[in-house]
Assembly symmetry: C2
Homo-oligomer: 347 residues x 2
Amino acid sequence: MTRKPTIRDVARLAGVGIGTVSRVLNHSSQVSSSTRERILAAMDELGYRPNVVARHLPRRTTFQNIGVLTPILFSYYSFSERLRGVQSVLQSHRSAYELMLFSIISPARFHERLMEIIHTRTIDGLLIIDLVPTTSDIDALRVAGLPFVGLNHVMRGDWPCIGTDNIRGGQMATRTLIDYGHRRIAYLGDNADDLAGFVTGDERLKGYRRALEAGGIAYNPRLVFRGPHDVQTARQLTHRLLQLKPLPTAIFAMSDTQAMAAIAVLNEAGLRVPDDISVIGYDDLEISQQIGLTTVRHHLDLSGKLGTEYLLACIEENADAPVPMLPPLQVIVRRTVGVPREVNINA
Amino acid sequence: MTRKPTIRDVARLAGVGIGTVSRVLNHSSQVSSSTRERILAAMDELGYRPNVVARHLPRRTTFQNIGVLTPILFSYYSFSERLRGVQSVLQSHRSAYELMLFSIISPARFHERLMEIIHTRTIDGLLIIDLVPTTSDIDALRVAGLPFVGLNHVMRGDWPCIGTDNIRGGQMATRTLIDYGHRRIAYLGDNADDLAGFVTGDERLKGYRRALEAGGIAYNPRLVFRGPHDVQTARQLTHRLLQLKPLPTAIFAMSDTQAMAAIAVLNEAGLRVPDDISVIGYDDLEISQQIGLTTVRHHLDLSGKLGTEYLLACIEENADAPVPMLPPLQVIVRRTVGVPREVNINA
DNA sequence: CTGTTAGCGCCTTCAG
DNA sequence: CTGAAGGCGCTAACAG
């Protein structure tokens, strides 16, 4: 007998019925200590381990997992700060849910991936970050009876989500620069072509355009630099930006990561921030405070917390839990934005 | 009938046997298209969804999950970069494993948590990061037949792990400062008291001491600052460090996060880095390059990759896969370390 | 306190 | 091509 021992093997060896073995497995007090000992010994001798899957079938319980679906490679520091919020709620929650992390590289496969998760995974709820499910996605989620909560740019809808207004955030950032007197402002963001579906960058760009318009500044597409959301690309884009003449006097980067990369390149080129050129980011990472980056705070850690709490409420109360609200976006003024000054390194 | 429909309900409605329903569920070609249509219609009408757990029982398959066990709050940016490596391997791997994230706050509960994971979770393998399982932990893992790989400070052993030599890293960092001429070097690290079990900080401190010794410098415990591994604590510790007279001429921070916090506080106090005081970190986060932090590179992303590849090899080949080796540690010289200069802000 | 009996929902032979 | 039967490993009444 080389196969894994089952409850029946244990019962046979201990000379009892499988019911009794099941009782000791479930810590029932209804077993005399002598037979308990005998059964424990038998388990030990056989190296018996209860089959986790089999236990759930008659018991009709779930695995107590919640899933997080996110474009992880998108901007991983902010993801990390958000995840910290998720974890802190999960760990303090009375019913201990574990975390499954589903990430997608290509938004084109979002739908496909979602279906796969719904039908083959054992989760009790799903938190969908930075991605917006379509109507058919939502239907599928509902039909499957899988509670879900979105954490993204959608402000309201007939599905549960905690929205954050990226347009407004982009507008606030750009407006800040304009208020300082800037009129030639570049935008540094991710690539809409590759990332259709991850609309965050589009939204913030839209906010940028609105602020320009409100400030009476003409939109100039040559001041817009976009590419895949990673540090190397941000650096390359900044190098291209440095070819511009005249140079922009300020940059709005759609993420703190890109802002920091830009600042690095600017410094390497001999430009001082904010004396020669101003930079504002978006995220307010914990690290941004340390390096003095002026940025837009959208409460990453808190959003992870609220999203998770909301999801848990949806799972457990089953009713329509109240939708939590994130605090308003905030421009955090630090040291990378100043008044404009014309410089020309391309002279 | 308000309960969830089962395969039997579908069979009844479609007027077929459950075997045939099962066949269409499993995309068997052995079903005539007419009956398939009928069954599909019945499923649709009932809103039938196969029970995921029940499918696994007779099939004797696993859920294809791999777990990552880590002290997540420990230092989450480095965790994040490592995780990126894990995810990249998982997503490119032919058999699509999903990721379960188990984090522990208190190392005291490491063992307990591990047992819980082994016995109640459905994973095919476990990657244990920055934590070292005891002999009994390892036994339990083996008895349960759960493949596991460690990613930590243990360099070798009778269990599968990819080691990184924190002592040597700490030594290299400190040695670098000494080579620049520093003799009064502070150490900024995490708190051993709270975090017994997370020995990373102890190891790097040990390396610090060895380097001092080799450099003929007496160890001064008053130059050692330790506390919980978070930005606020790092800032407070740096403030305390600033009370010292004379001031140290250099700081070795056991993580880049702490190094950046320290630099921020130093700057706020009017000290310039590295002109007035030098700082070296440990991690080489992606962001560290951008801000010019001198640090020790231990290949975070790559370690996540190698660890995951190794684990997958252990799972699939079942044999003793060759233990991968991380490239050697490297001091990355950037702009936060210079020659010492006595300054006294406490005059 | 304990053994026995039904399932949990599905897959997989095995006959037809 | 299809139906019926017999598990997968365990839990949960139910009788004793």
